[in-house]
Symmetry: C2
């Protein structure tokens, strides 16, 4: 496949996880200064700025919200606790609507015990319950399969194949997948699964895989610093029909220690060079 | 599926990685003291004792060698370096034969650059070259798919599906898979893939997945200390027709700091309780 560069920043989005020290206000203003047209917001950082104030800033600056992170975390040991999670997801859907994004990202959560299969069924049960609510609010739910190293503590959905299968089973226009290069790059069937996701790709997240991996949770790399074939994957996602925002989502303590504006500068350059 | 316990230690094997401080002699003698009938040897530890001396100890003690770790590490940047790796794998096959084991475990290695697909092709090329040599020496090659978190630095073969596909493609009686619970437990298709491996399972390795994971490389847990459904997986492997040795392979610094005989005691008890 021929390599085509991205020529401008029109699809670039800052996922707030990349600059942890900024609340929603600081991140929106940072994107405005840097000419980054999209932002992926996190609920905790929105709460620090205030939901309605964040919504106002979004309207006034014209920065578009590519997604809200995150819903999910569905499996739990008791029916009561599972209902609490569902209620929280409904609040997340309302927040997404107020922030004028179309997508709530779902990190589906770990099993409460050793039974990973039962936990996967709890995920599907919860989706059944929240999808009508998502419809009412015009929000799409994006299942983000996480890297298998997070299977025990963050997500029982560990591959794009698995996420695609759930989406196909529900066959609901408001349910799709979010593809993150860090989570799926290792998969021998990743290109096949990206093609299979055509029509239900709700987001594309990028970062890089450093060698050696500095940390399980906070060891993601800036684009170009690792081994992921970012351009090849981005072109496959494009070829599957996705033309939406591309979120840079990097959990990395060293990057968090840099001034946010510097991170945005590096991010823009690396995006054009490597994605 | 009903849960059937293992009633004795006849299938138990100590993989030497579990007690890093012991060379081959110490490990063989430790297994003899503890009544553990099998051992999985590592080439570096065999070298410390000496190959022919280790072979002699194996003959004299009657401890059986379940496998030799490890061959593989095939992809490399140049044809010369790839040939060096192939030559080293041939030496490993000769060593396996001298140690009277039937199985050489293959950890296939990382890509030399960002092109993981090309590296996968190098693995297949190397298998084509070493399989005739394995035949001559009566050794079977067991592809061990590694957890995807090792895709960048240890193995481009990251799932049992992928290993099964290679084995089916070669359709060679001396090529199979080694299934390690730590590497495959997260996979939604693991039971399907274990059944698919029926007839070419050459080994079964066990350890547990601790939460949170203490370390990417040295964070494996003793059986029962983590979240892996070990008995369910073992029964699936049994149901697929595998009745061979079960190797305990735990890379964990805290366990390495315990006296080896204590580790064997714990290992035996946990094996009967959890596997």
């Amino acid at each position: 496949m021929q390599q085509h560069e991205l020529r401008d920043l029109t699809r670039l989005s800052l996922n707030q996880a990349t600059i942890d020290q900024w609340d929603a206000r600081a991140a929106i203003e940072g994107c405005q200064r840097a000419g980054i047209p999209w932002i992926g917001l996190w609920r905790d950082k929105v709460a620090r700025t205030g939901l309605s104030e964040t919504a106002r800033l979004v309207r006034e600056t014209g920065i578009q919200v590519s997604s809200l992170c995150r819903g999910g975390w569905f499996p739990a040991a008791t029916a009561t606790e599972r209902q609490t999670r569902i209620d929280d997801n409904k609040r997340a859907i309302e927040e997404a609507a107020e922030l004028q994004t179309k997508v709530l990202v779902l990190v589906c959560g770990p099993a409460p015990d050793r039974d990973i299969q039962a936990a996967r069924e709890m995920v599907e049960d919860a989706l059944t319950q929240i999808l009508p609510f998502a419809h009412q609010h015009g929000i799409s739910l994006g299942i983000e399969p996480l890297h298998p190293m997070y299977a025990a503590d963050r997500s029982v959905i560990t591959s794009l194949a698995e996420a695609n299968q759930i989406v196909e089973k529900f066959n609901d226009a408001h349910l799709g997948v979010v593809i993150d290069t860090f989570h799926v790059w290792w998969d021998v069937s990743v290109y096949e699964q990206i093609a299979r996701a055509s029509g239900h790709i709700l987001g594309f997240h990028i970062s890089d895989w450093l060698v050696p991996l500095p940390d399980v949770l906070l060891g993601r790399g800036m684009m170009g610093d690792g081994v992921i074939e970012l351009r090849k994957l981005r072109q496959a996602v494009d070829a599957a029909g996705y033309q939406g925002p591309i979120e840079v989502e990097i959990f990395n303590r060293a990057i968090w220690n840099l001034p946010g504006d510097d991170v945005l500068d590096i991010m823009k350059r690396r995006y054009l060079e490597h994605v």
